[in-house]
């Protein structure tokens, strides 16, 4: 579903099943990173590319690399196809099976936010569900499979729209006992009373966003703009592969892209249309998968042409 924000794109479509009611939906990312990312560049300002090398210092292409699990006497090699075969059965269903009070969901479980938009012709079931959840102040708990992984998701209704938070699985969370807090310390009652008074006095209705601004991001941008104005350290580089630093975001979107590319391969006709509609970074990813040389300096059209050529070969 289009909106005024070009960053927000649906990337998964499926069916929310609620009892015997099927609601076609599309999943959108619910967060985006705002952190300015530093790129790794050469002294001349060319963006560096990350590459893998073997023992003899020869660069390896993706076909030259396999996955290995380390054991005492070496590695057990596992092929991509073997892992794919273990993935949970591909399904387009988000099974909404229970409803719980919103407050029962601990924030520690939250992993990542998404938005669920109605898709298809009939949006009435979606509207009825969103309204019912809002009125009862309930969250829906559902499970689904996305790019070969199982997810638990909590659905919240807000402003007539369903928001989804993927949740951590129980074994992905430490218990208080795991960090030595099985019996929390006793309280100094007098101090607690004084703190309660202070808390009551310092309570606000909303988070004071202004006080929480990321001054490093601002300072970094200001520093860069300042140097640019002085003509210091400015380099121009073609729009190419970039290696992000400080990138501790999960590789969710990259994975998605890969899945889209993989499933795209199965239908030759879809593939053709797909290429024209792809963004340059999508095309770049695909060129990378096909190991097309010189891809980092190609324009969008050149990338499309090379991908077609590589696939025809």
């Amino acid at each position: 579903m289009p909106d005024d924000d070009a960053d927000v794109r649906g990337f998964w479509s499926g069916t929310l099943t609620f009892g015997l009611v099927s609601i076609p939906v599309e999943l959108f990312p619910g967060v985006r990173s705002e952190r300015p990312s530093l790129r790794m560049l050469s002294a001349e300002g060319a963006p560096l590319r990350r590459a893998y090398f073997g023992e003899d210092d020869q660069e390896l292409s993706s076909e030259d690399i396999v996955r290995g699990f380390e054991v005492d006497d070496g590695f057990i090699v596992v092929e991509d196809e073997e892992l794919e075969a273990l993935e949970p059965e591909r399904s387009r269903d988000i099974h909404l099976r229970r409803f719980v009070p919103r407050a029962d969901i601990s924030p520690a479980w939250f992993r990542r936010a998404y938005l669920l938009a109605p898709a298809g012709e009939s949006t009435r079931p979606y509207a009825v569900l969103a309204r019912t959840m809002a009125e009862t102040d309930r969250a829906g708990i559902a499970t689904f499979v996305m790019r070969g992984k199982e997810y638990i998701v909590a659905l919240f209704a807000e402003g007539g729209v369903l928001r989804a938070m993927t949740l951590r699985f129980e074994d992905e969370l430490r218990s208080p006992a795991d960090v030595g807090l099985e019996s929390p310390p006793a309280s100094d009652a007098k101090l607690a009373k004084a703190m309660r008074k202070a808390i009551a006095k310092a309570t606000s209705d909303a988070i004071p966003e202004d006080a929480l601004e990321d001054d490093r991001a601002e300072a970094l941008r200001a520093l860069a703009e300042d140097k640019r104005a002085r003509g210091e350290g400015v380099v121009e580089a073609p729009d190419v592969e970039v290696t992000e630093e400080d990138d501790d975001e999960p590789a969710d979107l990259v994975q998605l892209l890969k899945e889209r590319l993989r499933s795209g391969k199965k239908n030759e006709n879809d593939e053709q249309d797909d290429l024209e509609a792809s963004t340059k970074s999508d095309l770049y990813e695909r060129a990378k998968q096909l190991d097309i040389s010189g891809r980092s300096s190609m324009s969008k059209d050149e990338l499309i042409a090379s991908i077609r050529k590589a696939q025809a070969a």
Binding site: G19, P24, G30, V31, P36, S37, L38, R39, M40, L41, G45, L48, R50, A51, Y52, G54, I65, R67, F69, I76, A85, L86, E87, E89, I105, W109, F110, L115, G120, P125, A127, V128, R131, T132, I141, G148, I152, G160, V161, E170, D171, V179, P184, S187, D188, A189, M195, R196, I199, A202, S204, I207, L212, E213, R216, L220, K227, T243, S296, S297
Partner: protein
């Protein structure tokens, strides 16, 4: 095995100070693979390659993109000058009701444990819990600034790092279907939600993939093989919503009665 603290600091608000240790609450349970050279079966090394020469380089500069394709190089000294001062204080900015924190803003969960003077820790946990409030905090750790939500649960302080407001995509980015709602359908949907209402027990949900990978590794060690997955197609919205809701409600009630 007790996990080790990753950082030490103190929660500070007004004249109060509570010395704490920080522990990660999330743990990565994925099976870890190494990338190997397919031919030699030896681990690969990762290097940065200069596209101009095609050769690996150790001379790595940092740059910020100020415009598409235009970077400004920043020196290590310049970058270091932007690092926040590490004063070990987790400063409370304000206290809010837990509902004031948008779920979408939560990033990573941590525990705080006492670092000496445990009765101060106990007092803060008791006070937060009794007031039913979440503290909005900010601190600097490992060269980065963080914003977080601090709350207490059963005497334990829990801290989540929060994303900035601008990182959350507003639900208004999606057009809400503004259909008139049939009161009969709304009533049935309400009953169905009620019928499906239950306690939430996270332990009922299992991740089977990791277990399957572990099993695969064992099988591979013995030289065995495994099968292929199946596919399914998307479904359509029901043409008769009321009938579908009625049927679902009957099924849910039946299930509850037999449970």
């Amino acid at each position: 095995m007790t996990a080790r603290a990753m950082w030490k600091g103190r929660v500070a608000f007004g004249d109060f100070e509570v010395p704490v240790k920080l522990y990660a609450a999330a743990r990565d349970q994925r099976v870890r693979f190494r990338m190997l050279d397919a031919e030699r079966r030896a681990p690969v090394s990762q290097k940065m390659v200069d596209p101009a020469s095609g050769e690996p380089t150790d001379d790595v500069r940092r740059g910020l993109e100020v415009e598409r394709g235009v970077y400004v190089l920043l020196t290590d000294e310049e970058l270091a000058s932007l690092e926040p001062e590490a004063d070990r204080a987790i400063d409370v900015v304000t206290f809010v009701a837990p509902e004031a924190v948008d779920p979408a803003r939560h990033e990573r969960p941590y525990y705080l444990g006492p670092d000496g003077e445990p009765e101060r820790y106990g007092a803060l946990a008791e006070a937060l819990e009794a007031e039913g409030k979440t503290a909005i905090v900010r601190w600097a750790m490992r060269k980065r600034r963080y914003v977080g939500a601090l709350r207490a649960e059963a005497g334990v302080l829990r801290l989540s790092t929060l994303r900035r407001l601008g990182e959350v995509v507003s639900p208004s980015a999606i057009d809400a279907p503004e259909k008139k709602i049939d009161p009969k359908e709304a009533k049935l949907a309400g009953q169905l939600v009620e019928a499906l209402e239950d306690d939430f027990d996270l332990s009922e949900y299992r991740q089977t993939y990791r277990d399957a990978v572990a099993e695969l590794l064992q099988k591979k060690a013995r030289g065995e093989r495994i099968g292929r997955p199946k596919k399914t197609a998307p479904k359509e919205a029901p043409s008769d919503l009321e009938a579908a809701l009625r049927e679902s409600l009957a099924a849910a009630k039946k299930e509850k009665a037999s449970a």
